[in-house]
Symmetry: C2
Subunit: 327 residues, 2 copies
């Protein structure tokens, strides 16, 4: 059994807990929190919640610690710290800061002899893998990534900061005609507006100026001004009832040419349609936790990304089994 | 520069030759053939064609030999033989015989200290990778693979063997409603007939009994009897003009559930739409030739499949570059 610890018990941590129940070769040993552990109730019977201050007591009891903090401030501090004691996996997703995060985690992991796998999930993660494979196969071509339909937390938060807004959810939606054009190999040059549209469900405070709110949303720089945006005012009850799910997804395309004169076109498409963004992300993290365990067992160490990990390490099956059944 | 040799100059060999021109870190050193080399004309200026009998003279001159023979009789003999002298890549695609092929190539490659990568292409190859990744992420779920629209050589040959048939092309086509059902997460149980249909373009010999030919096709066991099959009789000119392309493609789906009570559904879809089956296959082989070169340079040896190879080995870019631009 691979003994897993979870640090941080929000949506992602709960997703990890659920994903472990789908993997017969794993067991949850403990959940660690910065909150008062007595206030954190988890779903797995017989497993306890501990203060993060106790985490060092578990060095011999946990094979892989899955770090479920946020990318803004948690993971930049946590991953390089806890890889001193454990093999770790994180979902660091601030693309621009990945090189610095990699360097810091690698230094600590090389020193401790542990494996630290960073930026695991679906973007970065499975989308990155598909970009890499497809770029290597079709060196002459174009990349397209679309996100959605799914909730953007950042955009929802931006709407909530507008005066008169009580609550809001924002969906990012790929433009269907853009998807079709890419899928047909037309290699379109797409503006921001042509790629995605934004749909907002807004609960206004009593007496608020709806036209003013709608205008403020639609003209908000960076967040909405460059997009076709639709605003719906609904009740808090309807928001809670119809818009509390965490569905997401997206598309990665590579379109390119082969032949002595680029005479043949090819389209590679990877598509995710996810009922639960955090549970799917967690499922990827858990598969890479298995890889961390197996690679560490072979004496490997240092910081790794999905690019550095042979796919077979993700599987609970033997090489013979995957060659016979999946190749 | 990675120095590439090609053994076998059919559609796949020509595809390799073209793919090398799309990869700036590679050069074609020589093409080897079992035919009289003087009868084989290639497209790359300054590169010569040699008899396969001269291949051992190139041991120091070629980094990776790409084997472009067929899976029925060529590769079972060639891959284990030439991995004694070269790092090799093949496209062995007889799924049932992969374990035996792996064992034979591995024994020879372990002895010679070379790398032999087998079963590279899109199925097996990219489809296998997608099956493996998706199975590891969603352990509770279902796999679906669809092929086409594309020409099946085996089915075209089967039609050509019917009395009165002069020439034929057969397209395998996924059933659109089955794709939609899978994509919607309905987890359908699909019969052979419900997954694919077959469309045949047949040139009959003068005076042949068309109704008899059509009936023989539609009732042919294994090949057609279990499918909805459409037969069109056309002229040789029309067949040559409209049906000589080698387009192909297909879909790999994994649909599965997450959550403590399987309450959330997810769909992973990988889709290829290819103008040229051999050129795309060749493009995958060339990327794995780079991996063979890099892995051999690090002292690795033995038989490998796409499951055993970290994605970064396929790329001409450094780890820093792929982390910065593709993660």
């Amino acid at each position: 059994m691979i003994r897993i610890g979870i640090l941080g018990y929000g949506n992602l941590g709960r997703g990890i807990e659920a994903a472990i129940t789908h993997n017969a070769d794993m067991e949850l040993v403990a959940v660690f929190t910065r909150r008062n552990p007595e206030t954190v109730k988890i779903m797995t019977e017989g497993v306890k919640v501990y203060s993060v201050d106790c985490i060092a007591d578990f060095v011999e009891k946990i094979d892989v610690m899955i770090l479920c903090g946020g990318s803004a401030t948690d993971l930049p501090a946590q991953t390089k710290e806890y890889v001193k004691y454990f093999n770790v996996v994180d979902s660091f997703d601030t693309h621009a800061n990945i090189p610095a995060h990699f360097a810091a985690v690698n230094e600590a992991a090389q020193a401790s002899g542990k494996i630290g796998i960073i930026s695991v999930g679906w973007d970065p993660g499975m989308f990155s893998l598909n970009r890499l494979y497809a770029n290597c196969i079709l060196p002459d071509g174009n990349d397209y990534t679309f996100w959605g339909k799914g909730v953007s937390q950042g955009h929802s938060d931006a709407i909530r900061r507008i005066e008169g807004v009580q609550d809001a959810k924002q969906y990012t939606i790929p433009v269907e005609s853009a998807l079709e054009s890419v899928r047909n190999g037309e290699n379109p040059q797409l503006t921001t507006r042509q790629k995605h549209e934004r749909e907002c469900f807004v609960v206004a405070k009593e007496g608020a100026d709806l036209a003013k709110i709608e205008n403020e949303i639609k003209t908000m720089p960076n967040y909405f001004a460059d997009y076709n945006t639709t605003v719906h005012f609904i009740s808090q009850e309807e928001l809670n009832e119809k818009h509390s799910k965490m569905a997401h997804g997206g598309f990665v395309f590579r379109t390119g040419t082969t032949g002595m004169n680029n005479e043949n076109k090819h389209v590679i498409e990877y598509r995710l349609t996810l009922d639960s963004n955090p549970e799917f992300t967690a499922s990827v993290l858990v598969a890479y936790a298995r890889a961390a365990y197996k690679m560490s067992g072979e004496g490997m160490k240092g910081c790794k990304t999905v690019f550095d990990i042979a796919p077979a390490y993700l599987s609970p099956l033997s090489g013979d089994e995957i060659r016979a059944h999946l190749l």
